[in-house]
Amino acid sequence: MFDHGEPSYADVNKDVLSTMLETGPRYWMLLGGTMSVAGICFFMPWIYQLFVGVGAAGMNRNAVWGSYLSNFIFWIGLSHSGTLLSAVLHITNSPWRKAIYRSAEAMTLFSLMTAALFVMVHLGRVWFVHWSFPIPNQMGLWPNFRSPLMFDVMAITTYLTASSIFIYMGSVPDFAAVRDASTGMRRRLYTIFSFGWRGTAREWHTLGWAYTFFAVFVIPLAVSVHSIVSWDFALSAVPGFHHTIFAPYFVTGAIYSGTAGIVTVMYCLRKFLGFERYIGQVHLDSLGKLLITLSLIWSYINILELFSGWYGGTSFELEALKFRLTGFYAPLYWEMILFCAFVPMLMLSKKIRWSWNKMLLVSVLINIGMLTERFIIVATSQPRKFLPDAFGYYVPSWIEISITVGSFAIFATLFLIFIKWVPAISIYEVKETLKPLRRDA
């Protein structure tokens, strides 16, 4: 489990807490950089769009959905493996989960926040966003719960709430460790964060039960969230959207891109926070094998999607298929196939699976492929629906491209703030993987 010798309990506290309590100039420069990119690339174009209207984006009469929604799906997807993987591995009692799950769950939370921002950007008149919640208002207006968009509101709100509680509750014992290692204002703050946790047998017992129930609730929730996102598309009659396979297709894609995202995040934690001792080959190898499996499932569903479109035989579906495979966006489609179906097969080689640099490259390529997949779903279906006089093209404007770039900076900023406030590795769960403190051990 540990590549550089097993640490002692005290080492675990020291190593993890030092990443929070000691901050060098490199961190501040990085944080300043990501905040600047987020401000310039995301918020400034968004403010501009708020002034001039959503016409500033490249969406048009044929393609009323564009990159904002494809980004929304991408970020929701990226959020998937964090909490889901953590919950599944908790239920199955997998020891390799313990060092990586906290950051994976944080990834879920921040991906969800970024995804929610894209809904705001897409809405245009963001100041009316509260209309989508069932809140009594003077107009007597209530949301239409028969709409898949309302399913989305409910699912994402629930997922965000559950994921926040899941990560917070798992962190309470570690907040107590931070409290005990700090002084002054930080100590007072973490006394509040840790609820006065002492680590009594009763507290551990209650937390264990509650945490397992959170995991049990979160697993079906995560599956439902991306199924519901897929129904935003599949419940319409648009060729290219209207597939029964969409729910498993989206869920698989979500777990796939999320798992690749975890590899990227783990690489950064090892490299920049010095967690080489805790995140080792066993994690990389396990994640690599998981990625191969997900890639095969994803490829199978893609083939099935093409087949069902072709087998349906309607001219609208055939036109949508032809446009996707050979039309304007065909190079992007084949790039997606290359990155998500073929590149991951390199991980069949142990040499690739055991190399952090190569795995980083593969994980980034998979997520580029997955971002493209979401874009293709949105951009190639709506401009090709039914009548040829409604055919058109959708090309994102510079504002959309800038906001897409900025969203990655928002995610990075949130993650950088997180690592200074929450132990990025679960202290007490790593201790569970060490030899017990017994005389005979």
Partner: protein
């Protein structure tokens, strides 16, 4: 009055907990840097009542989710293509999400009630319990019993022993 002792090894810690219990001290807290099933067994902690909160939350969420979907569609009637106003399949999705939302929230509530947290008042605590020490705390010890408790803890091989004046 409370008395605390720290231990470097799990077996000493568990042994002293058993000795204290068999000697009639029943207000014992066992502090550890990680969850120990054996410590929970010593204190006789079986199934947690948290599960009742989870179930209650899930049931309440299911009922309120369905009621909300039906209620809002009756208050704000929106006919769509001649379809029924109360449509079961989409409302089941709202019900499902609310089941999970309330289940999670009630589990959180259950955790707080059952564990007695938050508790920010001063309680007997040893900060090394969050690092690498196992701490046994005997609370509410009468003055005449103090020496006996201390002897049991010391005999079990405690590294350090501390007496704490408890808040009234």
């Amino acid at each position: 009055m409370a008395i605390m002792g720290t231990f470097a090894f799990e077996e000493d810690f568990l042994a002293v907990a058993r000795s204290l219990q068999s000697s009639g001290f029943d207000n014992i807290s066992l502090l550890s840097p990680l969850p120990l099933e054996e410590a929970q067994e010593v204190l006789g902690l079986g199934k947690s009542p948290v599960r009742h909160y989870s179930l209650a939350g899930a049931i309440l969420g299911a009922i309120s989710g369905f009621a909300m979907a039906v209620g809002t569609s009756l208050v704000f009637i929106l006919p769509t293509g001649g379809r029924a106003i109360i449509t079961i399949p989409p409302f089941l999705i709202i019900t499902y999400e609310m089941t999970i939302l309330f289940g999670v929230l009630f589990t959180l509530l259950g955790f707080h009630f059952v564990s007695g947290l938050p508790a920010w008042r001063d309680r007997p605590y040893w900060s090394s319990a969050s690092v690498d020490r196992f701490v046994v705390v005997v609370e509410g010890v009468a003055a005449e019993q103090l020496a006996r408790a201390e002897a049991i803890i010391r005999d079990a091989g405690a590294d350090e022993i501390r007496h704490v004046e408890e808040e009234q």
